[in-house]
Each structure stands twice: as C-alpha cells, then as structure tokens.
C-alpha cells in the first residue's frame, strides 16, 4: 500500500477501511511520536499518547477539513492528546531519559553533545514543542502556528527565545562562552 496517495487512504479510512488507516499510522508514527515526546518528555507516555492520537484522529476524521494539510491537523490532535495526558499526570515529572552531568566532566565533544541534548529537552514545553516541530518535523513557522493555535509572531519569538534559553543553560553548565 506504499504507493497509495494520502487522500485515497483518508477516504478509505472514512469508509471504515482499517488497513488504510494502518498505512496512515505507518507513515506518520515517527512524526506523531516526536510531537508527543516534545510535550511529555517520556518515551512510554509518548508511545501511549501516539497510539491514542491515532485513535482520536480516526474518530474525528469526519471533521478533518480537506483544505488543511493533513500532517498539521494530525499534529494538532497529537498536541491535544499529549497535553490532556500531561494534565491528568498533574505535575510534569522529571524527564526519565535525560540526566545532568557534572559541569567539570563536560569537556569532550561527546559531553558537549549530551549537554545540548539536555539543554534542549529540559526547556519548558512552550519552547520545546516549537523547536521540535521546527527542527524535527520540518514544519514552517506558519504550520507550527496553525498546529499550536498561536500567532506566527509568537512562534517566532518562542523559537528565538528557546535557542536563547539553550544558550543560557549551556553557559550555566560552563559549556559555552559564545552566544547565539
């Protein structure tokens, strides 16, 4: 089913063809998982959220506006599902997959890489999510704005500010003396 067009898959899914929807899942699971992880910062929760997002999207498929880009709509559904999970969890837990390093040990290239990773993934969600959508999903500022229901200018300032926060975190760790 790899060469079937997206629109056809959506139409077949609307008619109840679960195999077609399965193909949609195959095509978008990395994107949906990445988006959920950007909100939840936890692999197991992101996996649950990804599954739930695909189920929710299937349920709401009749309300998908064909004039919108499907991936952007799917990201919006995923963000809603992940944020609901976050609310149910009450407090955002410490990320389980990242750990702090002693600044004194942050001297090698490998450690620098880890430091950037930690700085990015410890950003507040409001900055982390646009960065992931921009750098991982490859969405434009306008698409992120639509997916997050924000103004494009707000997305831009969050992207710039997110990078500034990464820089300040790295300064805090003693990893960088340079600026964004």
């Amino acid at each position: 089913m790899g060469d079937v067009g997206e629109l056809e898959l959506i139409q077949r899914s609307l008619e109840g063809d679960l195999e077609a929807w399965g193909e949609i899942v195959v095509r978008y699971k990395r994107m949906v998982f990445g988006t959920a992880l950007a909100v939840l910062r936890n692999w197991a929760d992101a996996e649950d959220a990804a599954q739930e997002a695909f189920i929710r999207a299937y349920e709401k498929l009749h309300y998908y506006d064909l004039s919108r880009k499907f991936s952007t709509w799917l990201i919006t559904v995923t963000i809603n599902v992940a944020k609901n999970m976050l609310r149910k969890r009450k407090a955002e837990p410490e990320p389980k997959t990242f750990h702090s390093e002693d600044p004194a040990t942050l001297v090698a290239r490998e450690e620098l890489r880890k430091a950037v990773k930690e700085a990015v993934w410890s950003l507040p969600e409001g900055y982390r999510l646009p960065l992931v959508l921009y750098y991982w999903e490859g969405l434009s500022v306008e698409e992120i704005a639509k997916a997050m229901r924000l103004k494009p200018a707000t997305v831009k300032t969050r992207l710039f500010r997110g990078r500034a926060l990464v820089k300040s975190k790295l300064l805090e760790m003693g990893v960088t003396a340079d600026a964004v």
């Binding site: 008619e15 109840g16 899942v25 506006d65 064909l66 990242f98 990773k117 993934w121």
Partner: protein, 184 residues
C-alpha cells in the same frame, strides 16, 4: 571543549533527532496496536452511519463559507496594511546620545514591541506618547552586534528601515544593528 560553533543549528537538530530516534523501536507494530484498539472500541462504524455523519458534517458548507470569508479578510487585510504601515525611513528622535533609539512608524497600531538577543527575545514595549504613530524605545546597549525584530500588534516586522542590515533566520528576516564601532 568550548561550544564555539553555536550558530550551527545542526547541534539542536541533532539533539532532538537523537532522542526521538533512540525510541524508534517502540514504534514497531504501532499500526497493529492502533487498529486493534479501534476495533476493540467498536469504532469501525457501519457504512451507512458513516455516510449519514459525513452528510451531517459541517465540512462542505463550512468550506464554502471559509473561502468567501478568507477572500474578504485578505482584501480587507491588504487594505489595512497598505494604509497602516509606512516603512519609509523616518528621522529618529534627537535622543540618540542617551542610548540607541529603536523607532518604527506604525500608525494605528495598538501595541508595538521589540524582541531581540539583547532581551533574550522577550518582548519590550515601545511607546508613542504623542500619538503621531512613531513608536520608540531607547536602550542603553554595550557595543556589539544585535539582532532584533518588532512585533506590531503581534505581527512580526523583521525589517526595520533603520537597521544596518537584515539576516534571514528560521524562515524570516531579523534586523541587525551595530552599536559602537560599527556602522551605526
């Protein structure tokens, strides 16, 4: 090792990609789990129910309405923009010796802010006390190169007519000023 090549956004991209790719094994067979869950929840509705829902769906009429509304808004928006913003460079207030003046002509705007690396991209409001439509802010900045943009009623205005140069970052323009020893 110093983080010398910070401008290389590849490091951020890599940090994000690594974390997501590392969990890729978890996505194995996700499609089967989704299909199973949908089937279990009995979401696979019969064809006629789906047909009724699709007929009752607001998509068809809503789309037509959205196109008309979109065209109308575009028409009005262009009109407002043409009448509202003048990007012709205007003389700066004679206060430059107190700091660096950031000024933008935006008659009719309700709110003008500036974001830049000097404020870690947090918005700082400009003021227009005499109501002439020229919004200003004076900042005392140490010598250096500064990237910034204006937000006019939450709309990104990246090309300041008074800037020394423009750079394109993340799909849009930002302005650049050189303070002290530079061209400004």
């Amino acid at each position: 090792m110093q983080f010398e090549n910070w401008r290389d956004e590849e490091l951020i991209r890599q940090a994000i990609a690594e974390e997501i790719s590392a969990a890729e094994a978890r996505l194995e067979g996700l499609e089967k789990r989704v299909i199973q869950a949908i089937a279990t929840r009995d979401l696979a509705r019969s064809a006629w129910k789906r047909w009724i829902r699709s007929v009752l769906s607001p998509r068809a009429s809503a789309l037509r309405f959205a196109y008309v509304l979109g065209a109308l808004l575009l028409f009005v928006g262009i009109g407002i923009l043409i009448g509202r913003f003048s990007f012709a460079p205007k003389p700066l207030p004679a206060l430059a010796q107190e700091g660096t003046v950031f000024a933008l002509a935006a008659p009719g705007a309700h709110k003008v802010e500036i974001v830049g690396d000097f404020s870690a991209w947090k918005p700082i409001p400009l003021v227009d006390p005499d109501g002439d439509g020229v919004w200003t802010l004076i900042l005392k900045l140490p010598p250096g190169r500064y990237e910034y943009a204006f937000l006019v009623d939450d709309r990104w205005v990246g090309q300041d007519p008074n800037a020394d140069e423009y750079v394109r970052t993340m799909g849009d323009y930002t302005s650049v000023r050189y303070i002290g020893g530079g061209s400004s």
